[in-house]
Protein backbone atom coordinates (compact mmCIF):
# COMPACT_ATOMS: atom_id res chain seq x y z
CA UNK A 1 0.00 0.00 0.00
CA UNK A 2 1.41 3.33 -1.01
CA UNK A 3 0.47 6.21 1.27
CA UNK A 4 -0.03 9.69 -0.12
CA UNK A 5 2.86 12.05 0.50
CA UNK A 6 2.11 15.01 2.71
CA UNK A 7 4.23 17.80 4.12
CA UNK A 8 3.64 20.93 6.16
CA UNK A 9 6.03 23.83 5.71
CA UNK A 10 6.16 26.71 8.16
CA UNK A 11 6.55 29.35 5.49
CA UNK A 12 6.46 32.28 7.92
CA UNK A 13 7.08 32.20 11.67
CA UNK A 14 6.93 35.12 14.09
CA UNK A 15 6.90 37.57 11.20
CA UNK A 16 5.06 40.90 11.29
CA UNK A 17 2.91 41.84 8.32
CA UNK A 18 2.00 45.48 7.76
CA UNK A 19 1.37 47.43 4.56
CA UNK A 20 2.20 45.25 1.57
CA UNK A 21 3.22 41.73 2.49
CA UNK A 22 3.93 38.37 0.86
CA UNK A 23 4.99 35.04 2.27
CA UNK A 24 8.15 33.45 0.91
CA UNK A 25 7.67 31.38 -2.27
CA UNK A 26 7.18 27.68 -1.69
CA UNK A 27 7.60 25.01 -4.37
CA UNK A 28 4.62 22.71 -4.34
CA UNK A 29 4.61 21.06 -7.76
CA UNK A 30 4.47 17.56 -6.31
CA UNK A 31 1.25 18.30 -4.38
CA UNK A 32 -2.29 18.44 -5.69
CA UNK A 33 -3.93 20.12 -2.74
CA UNK A 34 -2.89 22.70 -0.19
CA UNK A 35 -4.17 24.53 2.84
CA UNK A 36 -2.68 27.77 4.11
CA UNK A 37 -3.20 28.05 7.87
CA UNK A 38 -2.62 31.50 9.37
CA UNK A 39 -2.28 31.80 13.15
CA UNK A 40 -2.09 35.20 14.79
CA UNK A 41 0.66 35.50 17.39
CA UNK A 42 -0.15 39.18 17.97
CA UNK A 43 -2.51 41.65 16.32
CA UNK A 44 -2.88 45.40 16.40
CA UNK A 45 -6.09 46.76 18.02
CA UNK A 46 -9.32 46.15 16.08
CA UNK A 47 -7.37 44.26 13.45
CA UNK A 48 -8.88 43.19 10.17
CA UNK A 49 -7.33 42.22 6.88
CA UNK A 50 -7.11 39.53 4.26
CA UNK A 51 -4.61 37.83 1.99
CA UNK A 52 -4.93 36.26 -1.42
CA UNK A 53 -3.34 33.10 -2.69
CA UNK A 54 -0.90 33.70 -5.52
CA UNK A 55 0.55 31.19 -7.93
CA UNK A 56 3.61 31.34 -10.14
CA UNK A 57 5.25 29.37 -12.91
CA UNK A 58 8.75 30.36 -11.84
CA UNK A 59 8.64 31.65 -8.25
CA UNK A 60 9.41 35.16 -9.49
CA UNK A 61 6.34 36.40 -11.34
CA UNK A 62 3.02 36.06 -9.47
CA UNK A 63 -0.68 36.08 -10.27
CA UNK A 64 -3.75 36.01 -8.03
CA UNK A 65 -5.23 32.52 -7.92
CA UNK A 66 -8.65 33.79 -6.84
CA UNK A 67 -8.80 32.36 -3.31
CA UNK A 68 -8.76 34.74 -0.35
CA UNK A 69 -8.33 34.17 3.37
CA UNK A 70 -9.50 36.50 6.10
CA UNK A 71 -6.61 37.00 8.50
CA UNK A 72 -7.26 36.12 12.16
CA UNK A 73 -8.53 39.09 14.14
CA UNK A 74 -7.35 38.06 17.59
CA UNK A 75 -4.32 36.36 19.15
CA UNK A 76 -4.15 32.57 18.60
CA UNK A 77 -7.09 32.54 16.23
CA UNK A 78 -6.48 30.41 13.14
CA UNK A 79 -7.92 30.97 9.69
CA UNK A 80 -7.28 28.97 6.55
CA UNK A 81 -7.96 28.62 2.86
CA UNK A 82 -7.84 25.65 0.52
CA UNK A 83 -6.43 25.53 -2.98
CA UNK A 84 -5.91 22.87 -5.63
CA UNK A 85 -4.58 22.74 -9.20
CA UNK A 86 -1.98 25.40 -8.52
CA UNK A 87 1.05 24.47 -10.60
CA UNK A 88 4.49 24.98 -9.13
CA UNK A 89 4.81 27.81 -6.60
CA UNK A 90 2.49 29.14 -3.88
CA UNK A 91 2.44 32.16 -1.60
CA UNK A 92 0.06 34.47 0.27
CA UNK A 93 0.10 38.18 -0.45
CA UNK A 94 -1.89 41.24 0.43
CA UNK A 95 -1.97 44.79 1.72
CA UNK A 96 -3.02 45.86 5.20
CA UNK A 97 -4.60 49.21 5.92
CA UNK A 98 -2.43 51.89 7.54
CA UNK A 99 -1.98 51.26 11.25
CA UNK A 100 -2.91 47.58 11.01
CA UNK A 101 -0.36 44.85 11.69
CA UNK A 102 -0.32 41.19 12.55
CA UNK A 103 2.43 38.83 13.72
CA UNK A 104 1.79 35.50 12.02
CA UNK A 105 2.73 31.88 11.87
CA UNK A 106 1.81 30.58 8.41
CA UNK A 107 1.73 26.84 7.75
CA UNK A 108 1.33 25.40 4.28
CA UNK A 109 -0.07 21.87 4.44
CA UNK A 110 0.49 20.01 1.18
CA UNK A 111 -0.81 16.65 0.07
CA UNK A 112 -0.09 14.56 -2.99
Amino acid sequence: MSLRHSYTATVERNVIWKGEFASEPYESAWASEAIFFVRALEVSPEFSGSACVQISADGIHWADEGTRVELPARKDQVTFCKVAHFGGFLRLAGTLAPGKSIKVLVSLALKE
Partner: protein, 284 residues
Protein backbone atom coordinates in the same frame (compact mmCIF):
# COMPACT_ATOMS: atom_id res chain seq x y z
CA UNK B 1 29.08 -7.20 -8.07
CA UNK B 2 28.11 -5.36 -4.90
CA UNK B 3 24.64 -3.90 -4.49
CA UNK B 4 26.09 -0.40 -4.60
CA UNK B 5 27.83 -1.10 -7.90
CA UNK B 6 24.88 -2.76 -9.61
CA UNK B 7 22.20 -0.24 -8.60
CA UNK B 8 22.50 2.74 -10.98
CA UNK B 9 21.26 5.10 -8.27
CA UNK B 10 24.00 3.95 -5.87
CA UNK B 11 26.85 3.23 -8.24
CA UNK B 12 27.73 6.95 -8.36
CA UNK B 13 28.55 6.77 -4.63
CA UNK B 14 31.42 5.06 -2.79
CA UNK B 15 29.75 4.10 0.49
CA UNK B 16 31.53 2.54 3.44
CA UNK B 17 30.48 -0.96 4.47
CA UNK B 18 26.94 -0.11 5.62
CA UNK B 19 24.53 2.59 4.53
CA UNK B 20 22.99 4.53 7.41
CA UNK B 21 20.64 6.47 5.12
CA UNK B 22 20.24 7.09 1.43
CA UNK B 23 17.93 9.98 0.63
CA UNK B 24 16.73 10.36 -2.93
CA UNK B 25 14.35 13.29 -2.81
CA UNK B 26 12.15 11.80 -5.49
CA UNK B 27 10.90 9.76 -2.55
CA UNK B 28 9.93 12.79 -0.43
CA UNK B 29 11.46 15.02 2.21
CA UNK B 30 13.20 12.09 3.99
CA UNK B 31 13.63 13.63 7.44
CA UNK B 32 15.21 16.93 6.43
CA UNK B 33 13.64 19.76 8.38
CA UNK B 34 14.23 23.41 9.03
CA UNK B 35 16.84 24.18 11.66
CA UNK B 36 15.45 26.28 14.50
CA UNK B 37 17.06 27.78 17.58
CA UNK B 38 16.13 26.93 21.14
CA UNK B 39 13.41 28.95 22.88
CA UNK B 40 11.42 29.16 26.10
CA UNK B 41 7.90 30.56 26.50
CA UNK B 42 8.09 32.70 23.37
CA UNK B 43 9.66 32.51 19.92
CA UNK B 44 11.05 35.95 20.71
CA UNK B 45 13.47 34.32 23.17
CA UNK B 46 15.36 32.64 20.32
CA UNK B 47 18.74 33.95 19.22
CA UNK B 48 17.81 36.20 16.28
CA UNK B 49 20.19 34.41 13.91
CA UNK B 50 18.14 31.21 14.33
CA UNK B 51 14.73 32.81 13.95
CA UNK B 52 14.27 32.31 10.24
CA UNK B 53 16.28 29.50 8.66
CA UNK B 54 13.59 28.67 6.10
CA UNK B 55 11.81 25.37 5.48
CA UNK B 56 13.32 23.07 2.86
CA UNK B 57 11.19 22.17 -0.15
CA UNK B 58 11.01 19.68 -2.96
CA UNK B 59 11.95 21.36 -6.22
CA UNK B 60 11.79 20.22 -9.82
CA UNK B 61 14.22 23.02 -10.76
CA UNK B 62 11.75 25.02 -12.79
CA UNK B 63 13.24 28.09 -14.50
CA UNK B 64 11.38 31.03 -16.03
CA UNK B 65 13.13 30.66 -19.39
CA UNK B 66 13.46 26.93 -19.97
CA UNK B 67 10.90 25.28 -17.69
CA UNK B 68 11.70 22.27 -15.54
CA UNK B 69 15.06 20.51 -15.55
CA UNK B 70 14.18 18.01 -12.84
CA UNK B 71 16.88 16.76 -10.51
CA UNK B 72 20.07 14.90 -11.41
CA UNK B 73 18.46 11.50 -11.08
CA UNK B 74 14.70 11.93 -11.28
CA UNK B 75 12.26 14.79 -10.81
CA UNK B 76 12.77 16.33 -7.36
CA UNK B 77 15.67 17.73 -5.37
CA UNK B 78 15.73 19.09 -1.83
CA UNK B 79 15.92 22.87 -2.13
CA UNK B 80 17.15 25.30 0.50
CA UNK B 81 16.14 28.89 -0.25
CA UNK B 82 17.34 31.93 1.68
CA UNK B 83 15.37 35.14 1.87
CA UNK B 84 16.20 37.94 -0.56
CA UNK B 85 18.21 39.77 2.10
CA UNK B 86 22.02 39.95 2.25
CA UNK B 87 23.38 37.43 4.71
CA UNK B 88 20.16 35.42 4.97
CA UNK B 89 20.79 31.72 5.62
CA UNK B 90 18.65 28.72 4.82
CA UNK B 91 19.57 25.66 6.86
CA UNK B 92 18.16 22.15 6.83
CA UNK B 93 19.02 19.36 9.24
CA UNK B 94 18.53 15.61 9.61
CA UNK B 95 18.76 14.28 13.18
CA UNK B 96 19.99 10.77 14.03
CA UNK B 97 21.97 9.00 16.70
CA UNK B 98 24.79 6.52 16.14
CA UNK B 99 25.18 3.00 17.47
CA UNK B 100 28.96 2.74 17.20
CA UNK B 101 31.73 5.30 17.27
CA UNK B 102 33.19 4.35 13.93
CA UNK B 103 34.16 6.02 10.69
CA UNK B 104 31.30 7.78 8.86
CA UNK B 105 31.13 9.20 5.36
CA UNK B 106 28.66 11.66 3.87
CA UNK B 107 28.22 11.89 0.11
CA UNK B 108 25.85 14.01 -1.93
CA UNK B 109 25.19 15.50 -5.34
CA UNK B 110 24.40 19.20 -5.14
CA UNK B 111 24.14 22.40 -7.11
CA UNK B 112 23.65 26.02 -6.11
CA UNK B 113 22.43 29.19 -7.79
CA UNK B 114 21.00 32.61 -7.07
CA UNK B 115 17.36 33.20 -7.91
CA UNK B 116 17.16 34.02 -11.62
CA UNK B 117 15.46 37.35 -11.00
CA UNK B 118 17.90 39.41 -13.07
CA UNK B 119 19.18 38.89 -16.60
CA UNK B 120 22.84 39.04 -15.68
CA UNK B 121 25.65 36.64 -14.82
CA UNK B 122 25.05 36.80 -11.03
CA UNK B 123 28.22 34.79 -10.38
CA UNK B 124 28.90 36.27 -6.94
CA UNK B 125 25.31 36.51 -5.67
CA UNK B 126 25.58 33.34 -3.56
CA UNK B 127 28.00 33.94 -0.70
CA UNK B 128 28.49 30.40 0.55
CA UNK B 129 27.07 26.98 1.13
CA UNK B 130 28.19 24.27 3.48
CA UNK B 131 27.61 21.10 5.39
CA UNK B 132 28.20 20.26 9.03
CA UNK B 133 27.97 17.42 11.48
CA UNK B 134 26.76 18.04 15.03
CA UNK B 135 28.08 15.14 17.11
CA UNK B 136 28.36 14.10 20.72
CA UNK B 137 30.05 11.09 22.28
CA UNK B 138 27.83 8.29 23.57
CA UNK B 139 28.40 6.68 26.98
CA UNK B 140 30.21 8.95 29.43
CA UNK B 141 30.48 11.73 26.88
CA UNK B 142 33.34 14.19 27.00
CA UNK B 143 32.67 16.36 23.99
CA UNK B 144 30.12 17.72 21.60
CA UNK B 145 31.96 18.46 18.38
CA UNK B 146 30.95 20.01 15.10
CA UNK B 147 32.93 19.62 11.87
CA UNK B 148 31.92 22.38 9.43
CA UNK B 149 32.87 22.52 5.74
CA UNK B 150 32.02 25.71 3.86
CA UNK B 151 32.51 26.71 0.23
CA UNK B 152 32.99 30.47 0.23
CA UNK B 153 31.89 31.39 -3.25
CA UNK B 154 32.11 35.16 -2.93
CA UNK B 155 32.47 37.84 -0.30
CA UNK B 156 31.12 41.22 -1.24
CA UNK B 157 32.06 41.75 -4.86
CA UNK B 158 35.07 39.42 -4.73
CA UNK B 159 35.05 35.84 -5.95
CA UNK B 160 36.76 33.54 -3.44
CA UNK B 161 36.03 29.91 -4.48
CA UNK B 162 37.78 28.37 -1.47
CA UNK B 163 36.88 25.70 1.06
CA UNK B 164 36.86 26.59 4.75
CA UNK B 165 36.62 24.95 8.17
CA UNK B 166 35.62 26.36 11.55
CA UNK B 167 37.30 25.83 14.92
CA UNK B 168 35.26 28.03 17.27
CA UNK B 169 31.66 28.98 17.92
CA UNK B 170 30.19 31.98 19.71
CA UNK B 171 29.69 32.06 23.47
CA UNK B 172 26.62 30.26 24.80
CA UNK B 173 23.60 32.38 25.74
CA UNK B 174 20.96 31.54 28.31
CA UNK B 175 17.53 31.27 26.74
CA UNK B 176 14.45 32.16 28.78
CA UNK B 177 14.43 32.21 32.58
CA UNK B 178 14.43 28.57 33.72
CA UNK B 179 18.16 28.01 33.51
CA UNK B 180 17.50 24.84 31.52
CA UNK B 181 17.98 26.13 27.97
CA UNK B 182 21.05 27.54 26.25
CA UNK B 183 21.91 28.31 22.65
CA UNK B 184 24.93 29.19 20.54
CA UNK B 185 25.10 30.34 16.94
CA UNK B 186 27.81 28.56 14.98
CA UNK B 187 27.14 29.71 11.41
CA UNK B 188 28.18 33.34 11.77
CA UNK B 189 30.89 34.93 9.60
CA UNK B 190 33.58 34.67 12.29
CA UNK B 191 36.22 31.98 12.89
CA UNK B 192 36.28 30.52 9.37
CA UNK B 193 39.73 29.38 8.25
CA UNK B 194 40.83 28.47 4.77
CA UNK B 195 41.66 24.83 4.26
CA UNK B 196 45.03 24.14 2.68
CA UNK B 197 43.46 23.20 -0.64
CA UNK B 198 43.53 24.92 -4.01
CA UNK B 199 41.01 27.43 -5.25
CA UNK B 200 38.20 25.41 -6.77
CA UNK B 201 35.99 27.13 -9.28
CA UNK B 202 32.82 25.09 -9.52
CA UNK B 203 31.10 25.11 -12.91
CA UNK B 204 28.56 27.93 -12.88
CA UNK B 205 27.63 27.73 -16.55
CA UNK B 206 27.03 31.25 -17.70
CA UNK B 207 23.53 32.13 -16.51
CA UNK B 208 21.44 31.65 -13.39
CA UNK B 209 19.05 29.13 -14.93
CA UNK B 210 21.61 26.46 -15.84
CA UNK B 211 22.56 24.00 -13.11
CA UNK B 212 25.43 21.52 -13.16
CA UNK B 213 25.46 18.87 -10.44
CA UNK B 214 28.54 18.40 -8.25
CA UNK B 215 29.78 15.57 -6.05
CA UNK B 216 30.78 16.15 -2.42
CA UNK B 217 32.17 13.72 0.19
CA UNK B 218 33.19 14.17 3.86
CA UNK B 219 34.90 11.65 6.11
CA UNK B 220 34.81 11.79 9.90
CA UNK B 221 36.07 9.40 12.58
CA UNK B 222 33.69 9.38 15.54
CA UNK B 223 36.00 7.30 17.76
CA UNK B 224 39.05 9.53 17.44
CA UNK B 225 37.04 12.72 16.88
CA UNK B 226 38.84 13.51 13.66
CA UNK B 227 37.59 15.39 10.61
CA UNK B 228 39.63 13.40 8.14
CA UNK B 229 39.06 14.49 4.57
CA UNK B 230 36.71 15.75 1.90
CA UNK B 231 36.31 15.59 -1.85
CA UNK B 232 34.43 17.86 -4.24
CA UNK B 233 34.44 16.68 -7.84
CA UNK B 234 38.11 16.19 -8.72
CA UNK B 235 39.48 18.00 -5.66
CA UNK B 236 40.50 15.56 -2.91
CA UNK B 237 41.74 16.84 0.44
CA UNK B 238 43.61 14.21 2.45
CA UNK B 239 46.07 16.40 4.37
CA UNK B 240 46.20 17.08 8.10
CA UNK B 241 42.89 16.48 9.88
CA UNK B 242 40.64 19.51 9.59
CA UNK B 243 39.74 21.76 12.50
CA UNK B 244 36.32 21.60 14.09
CA UNK B 245 34.29 23.20 16.87
CA UNK B 246 34.66 21.34 20.17
CA UNK B 247 32.71 22.10 23.34
CA UNK B 248 32.07 20.18 26.57
CA UNK B 249 29.39 17.51 26.29
CA UNK B 250 25.85 18.69 26.95
CA UNK B 251 23.26 16.92 29.13
CA UNK B 252 20.88 15.41 26.57
CA UNK B 253 22.74 14.92 23.31
CA UNK B 254 24.48 11.55 23.72
CA UNK B 255 25.24 9.69 20.47
CA UNK B 256 23.95 12.64 18.46
CA UNK B 257 24.59 12.35 14.74
CA UNK B 258 23.07 15.38 13.04
CA UNK B 259 23.84 16.49 9.51
CA UNK B 260 22.95 19.95 8.22
CA UNK B 261 23.33 21.84 4.95
CA UNK B 262 23.06 25.57 4.53
CA UNK B 263 23.26 28.30 1.89
CA UNK B 264 23.88 32.01 2.41
CA UNK B 265 23.12 34.87 0.07
CA UNK B 266 25.59 37.62 -0.74
CA UNK B 267 23.00 40.14 -1.96
CA UNK B 268 19.36 41.09 -1.51
CA UNK B 269 18.49 38.11 -3.68
CA UNK B 270 17.50 34.55 -2.76
CA UNK B 271 20.26 31.92 -2.82
CA UNK B 272 19.37 28.31 -3.52
CA UNK B 273 21.13 25.05 -2.67
CA UNK B 274 19.75 21.90 -4.29
CA UNK B 275 20.51 18.35 -3.17
CA UNK B 276 19.71 15.56 -5.59
CA UNK B 277 20.54 12.85 -3.08
CA UNK B 278 22.46 12.34 0.15
CA UNK B 279 24.08 9.15 1.39
CA UNK B 280 25.53 8.57 4.85
CA UNK B 281 27.49 5.37 5.34
CA UNK B 282 29.61 4.04 8.14
CA UNK B 283 31.53 1.30 9.88
CA UNK B 284 29.20 -0.19 12.43
Amino acid sequence: MSMAASDPRLSRFDPLERIIFYDDFDEGIRGWSELIGNYEHSLDSMLPEYADMRPPMLSNLTMWDTGSAGSMEGMYALKLASRARTGSLATSIKRLTFRKRGHIQLECYFTFKPEASELRLSLNDVRAFGVLFDLQDGMNPEYRWMPHLRYLNAQGGEMINRWQMKSATRAFSNIGDSGETVSHFHLGPEHWEYIDAPVQTLAYNEIATKMNWHYLRLNVDLAERRFLSFQCNDLKYEGDPLKYISIPAMPNLNCMLNTAFWVETNRDKRAFLYLDSVLLSGEF
